[in-house]
Amino acid sequence: MLSKFLLLAGIVHSQKNKIMSFLSVRGNKYLPIKVLEGTLLPGTIFVIWLICSRLNILSKDFFPSPGDVVNGFHEVLNDGSFLDNLGMSVIRVLKGFLLGSTVGFVIGITLGMSRFLEKLITPIFNAIRQVPLPAWAPLLVLVSLGEMSRVLFIAIGACYPVVLNTFEGVKNVRNDYVEVGKVFKFNRVQRFFKIILPSSFPSTLTGLRLSLSISWMLVVAAEIFMTSGGGIGEMMWACREYSRMDLVVVCIIAIALVGFTMNFFMQKMEMFFSFWRLTLKQSR
């Protein structure tokens, strides 16, 4: 046993340079150390957590051990309803997001293009926007549209960032570019499709990314405030009622992972579509 370990250590040592260069990203030779530093705090917490739960210092009802959480994952994955609920939430989010962002995009473009409509709509839009999002839930419950209530609830939150960012994007189209259009005698349609839309698109994408992450936050709220439609939020709520702390933690981790994945893809998409903005950042 010991000899095997020593052998392994020897191999590792002889390959040290290779391993180091594998770990370090191009030229950054301190990266492994930096990564280690990042795991220090979570690692410490994890170890304390492990020790405390082994020694039964913390009550299991409040602080499930890492093992409990792993078991919880096994339990819910075998059950099947967990993935169903997660899927329901994802679909619900996509519905609300699509509805809200489409409406938001149209409003944002309209307000950005027309001075009069901007003056007409902006005040009431801003007034409505001041209402904290959860406050809409009881109203939507009273209107009792079932699943539509939850989708609408998400759509309201999803709409705002898209409106604001699209509007901002359209308003900030550089007059220089508009003048180029004038020199080439562009008509309104050409001006919109050749200048305003592409130029404001990155800003719209930022809005869409924010919108999706708000939607994901709100789906959990929607499922807690407006129960009996299924979904990961409702499952979590039920686990709380049964004091299944381990399953609550499982749900939290799952929600975070899905949210992270969504955000990651949106970010990649944003970068992909706004690569031409590079100059601005590079020249700074």
Binding site: V183, K194, W276
Partner: protein, 258 residues
């Protein structure tokens, strides 16, 4: 000889209103440009030279007097006048070839492609068709902008300090290029600049403007043979002559007033 591309500016004045104050930007400008001529407008900043250019392009309106192109009065921007801005103003979301093809109208796709290719060749950007503006150097961007402004075969090309943002060496190189393009396309060019050497190297006539209000101070013909030699005595003498207009020439003075 080309019959189109003559420009006449008669008694043109332009005022801006800022906070209920009238500011005279241009005062009684008279200028006539023959077809195929290269004219430089030179002056200190704030003398209204860019405004004059924008009036000719049609991006500014509400002026007094007449601006006639081939005898017709101008009415807003039109495809018979091209412009190159100081900041190239290429659309950053389009490739070089898409940018150059931006203004082409009423042509089939194959014709369009041919026109774009010809102009890419004209300005020497072969191999960069698919590049985006952020991948180009300042000089290359300005070449693309020149190509974009020429695709509709305008009768007159206006250049608003087109090389102002470039470094000195690139600028000298671009002077040659600009002269080549001007000769090849055989069109009228009017360039705004504040670089005396640049104006001397390129122009048939130099228009000197004074500031506040913008007035035409003097029109100096440049009778030097092309291609011009910056190091020649004649060139230096012409330079002195232009600089005299700005009281910047090298003769000794007891007092300097600028």
């Amino acid at each position: 000889m080309k019959s189109t591309g003559t420009l006449s500016v008669t008694n043109v004045s332009k005022k801006f209103r800022v906070n209920n104050n009238e500011i005279h930007v241009l005062d009684n400008i008279n200028l006539s440009v023959k077809a195929g001529e290269f004219i430089s407008i030179i002056g200190l900043s704030g003398c209204g030279k860019t405004t004059l250019l924008r009036l000719i392009v049609g991006l500014e309106s509400d002026y007094e007097g007449d601006i006639l192109l081939d005898g017709r009065k101008l009415n807003g921007p039109s495809l018979d006048r091209g412009i190159v801005f100081q900041d190239h103003r290429l659309f950053p979301w389009l490739t070089v070839e898409k940018n150059i093809g931006l203004g082409i109208v009423g042509k089939s796709d194959t014709e369009k492609k041919e026109i774009v290719n010809n102009h890419i060749e004209l300005v020497g950007l072969k191999g960069f068709e698919k590049s985006y503006p952020y991948q180009l150097s300042g000089g290359m961007s300005q070449r693309a902008a020149i190509a974009r402004s020429l695709v509709n075969q305008p009768e007159i090309l206006l250049l608003d300090e087109p090389l102002g943002a470039l470094d000195a060496l690139t600028r000298m190189y671009m002077h040659k290029e600009l002269e080549r393009i001007w000769k090849k396309e055989n069109i009228t060019m009017i360039m705004v600049t504040h670089d005396v050497e640049e104006a001397l190297y390129l122009s048939d006539k130099i228009v000197v403007m004074s500031a506040r209000p913008g007035k035409l101070q003097k029109i100096i013909p440049v009778p030097l043979a092309r291609p011009r030699d910056r190091a020649s005595v004649e060139f230096a003498e012409m330079k002195e002559k232009v600089l005299e207009e700005f009281m910047l020439h090298t003769e000794p003075h007891f007092t300097y007033t600028i």
